[in-house]
């Protein structure tokens, strides 16, 4: 592979989170009975006229801004013609030569460290098609028009990606942005995010692009990664064997079970779609002032919040990234800080416990780990009233109990005490019990002290602060720990 490089561009379709369709008031909920969300416009009945969903435009602009795109003041809708039963009217309404957004970028993190900017070519609005279910062995296909007309944006990247891993990172970052600003739920399983990949290879140093293949039916980020890997391997093998002419421009389908692709069709050229401006739809004008109004109503973007978390709370990059994976996580973390929790502890407890509880229970963070309880728990740890290990061990049970942390730990007799005499007695007991460890420490193996701290903590039922225990140990043994 080292003599070759891959050139990859992605086309991502994203369903906008509206109640109704792009050009009509039929609902577009996922998972309803087939053909139950259909109206005259969906069916393309004579005389039915499309009218743009204003909320879809609003969400599309939000998406554009979250991806650093430039919103065009003037754009229009075009008809894209093809014969296929997934759209009854014989064409899809899309945007051809005047998309509502041009440019934009997504910054990805590279595996070896560092970042790379992937440029976007454009984003346009369009309507989704219906769903066809092919009966095995039968002579019929079933048509379900519920999805036909659902609002979509298509995000087209420049061919800036150079590996399957970069494509994966791009999708993760894209999804983070779109979910963050409430444009879409981005559920790949439900089809609200779909991805096609254009893949070609070329010898390193060659400026000209190779022949590209488009891969469809990529139903997870891992499938995108695997399909691109597969396609690159195949094209490189043909090039090495002197059979590169066998790579022809075509569309392939990914088979996730067999982990292979099959050719679906050779590329129809663009003119075959016979695009022309849809006379039913007046032009769309989005004045700069409206764009700015939408921008100012958007939340702080994840990339900016991630950088702020690093600088304001001195968090590591990985921590800041995890805490800004989704906006509810970032909000949760900052709510803990607002409640007086130290940043480092708030970050750790959010990442290690709150997210785990939420995932285990399939519930929102604030339900699985209510903020007042988490804040009180963190403050008990921060103020040395409950040992960290004890708090961690009891965390799930504490939240399941619904009790207030102080009451919970008091009832369990786990509140740390400041009783010097009791501490001294306890440490003496540990020393007496662990003669061998004491010998090790005395002979200079100071790392063995951890064992003694552990034994003491266990004897105390977690009631003493580990640092106090350590200090007392050092005192009684006459060594510096």
């Amino acid at each position: 592979m080292s003599e070759y490089e891959a050139v990859i561009g992605l086309e991502v379709h994203c369903q906008l989170a509206t109640r109704t369709k792009m050009f009509t008031g039929a609902t577009c909920d996922f998972g309803r009975e087939p053909n139950s969300q259909v109206d005259v416009v969906t069916l393309g009945l004579p005389g039915a006229l499309p009218v743009v969903n204003g909320q879809a435009v609003e969400l599309a602009v939000r998406a554009a801004l979250s991806l650093n795109g430039t919103v065009a003041e003037h754009s229009k809708f075009d008809r894209k013609h093809y014969f296929y039963p997934d759209l009854p009217k014989g064409y899809q309404i899309s945007q051809f030569d005047e998309p509502y957004c041009t440019g934009g970028s997504i910054t990805i993190e590279l595996e070896g460290g560092g970042t790379k900017v992937i440029r976007l070519t454009r984003i346009h609005m369009e309507e989704d098609a219906g769903k066809l279910i092919h009966q095995d062995g039968g002579k019929w296909s079933e048509v379900d028009l519920n999805r036909a007309g659902t609002p979509l944006i298509e995000i087209v990247s420049d061919p800036d990606l150079r590996s399957a891993q970069e494509a994966y990172a791009y999708l993760v970052e894209l999804k983070r942005s779109l979910k963050w600003v409430g444009v879409s739920d981005c559920e790949m399983q439900e089809g609200s995010l779909r991805c096609d990949a254009n893949v070609s290879i070329r010898p390193v140093g060659q400026a000209k692009f190779g022949t590209r293949c488009e891969i469809k039916n990529l139903n997870s980020f891992r499938a995108v990664e695997a399909a691109i890997e597969h396609e690159i391997r195949q094209q490189v093998a043909l090039h090495k064997a002197g059979r590169y002419h066998e790579v022809v421009q075509c569309t392939k389908l990914w088979d996730p079970d067999l982990k292979t692709t099959k050719v679906m069709r050779t590329k129809e050229n663009a003119a075959d779609y016979r695009y022309f401006p849809d006379p039913d739809l007046p032009a769309l004008v989005i004045p700069a002032a409206r764009v700015e109004a939408i921008r100012s109503a958007m939340p702080e973007l994840p990339q900016i919040r991630e950088a702020r978390f690093q600088s304001q709370y001195a968090l590591e990059r990985a921590a800041a990234k995890e805490l800004t994976a989704e906006s509810p996580i970032a909000d949760y973390f900052e709510a803990l800080i607002a409640a007086g929790c130290p940043a480092k502890l708030a970050a750790n407890w959010t990442r290690e416990e709150a997210i785990r509880l939420a995932n285990d229970q399939h519930k929102p963070l604030t339900v699985a780990a209510p903020l007042p309880i988490m804040a009180e728990l963190i403050l008990l740890v921060a103020n040395n009233k409950v040992a960290r290990v004890v708090a961690k061990a009891e965390c799930s049970e504490l939240f399941a109990s619904g009790q207030k942390p102080e009451a919970y730990f008091t009832a369990k007799d786990q509140i740390q005490v400041q009783d010097t005499a009791a501490l001294a007695a306890l440490v003496a007991q540990a020393i007496a019990q662990e003669a061998k460890v004491v010998e090790d420490i005395r002979s200079g193996k100071l790392s063995a002290a951890g064992r003694l701290v552990g034994v003491s903590m266990k004897l105390s039922g977690g009631k003493f602060n580990p640092n106090d225990v350590k200090a007392e140990l050092a005192k009684q043994l006459g060594v510096a720990l």
């Binding site: 008031g25 039929a26 087939p34 109206d39 969903n53 092919h134 296909s141 007046p282 032009a283």
Partner: protein, 95 residues
């Protein structure tokens, strides 16, 4: 100038099957239509901005509020073939 190949290509895009006689007849008819429209190019459009919509109206939008649906049985009744839940079409390969 419309060629027989143009006609056959258009027929394919329109899912029409034309025999040789029809291709020849269509070529003549299309020539006439395109020739008629061609008259427009005689108009002097210097200084006239291109238009994609003649209404002059922009931004006709609606609020995101559900409207009336057609009951599923009515939808299915419009189709030439159906089962209990879906419109049926002759099995097609994936587009």
């Amino acid at each position: 100038m419309i060629t027989d190949d143009n006609v056959r290509h258009l027929a394919k895009l329109a899912s029409l099957t034309l025999d040789a006689a029809a291709v020849s007849r269509m070529r003549g008819e299309l020539e006439a239509i395109v020739g008629y429209v061609e008259q427009l190019s005689q108009v002097d459009t210097t200084g006239v901005e291109p238009l994609t919509n003649v209404s002059g109206v922009v931004n006709v939008t609606r609020t995101d509020v559900p409207g009336p649906l057609i009951p599923t049985p009515t939808v299915l009744a419009l189709a030439p073939a159906r089962n209990e839940v879906a419109i049926l079409v002759p099995k097609v390969v994936e587009r």
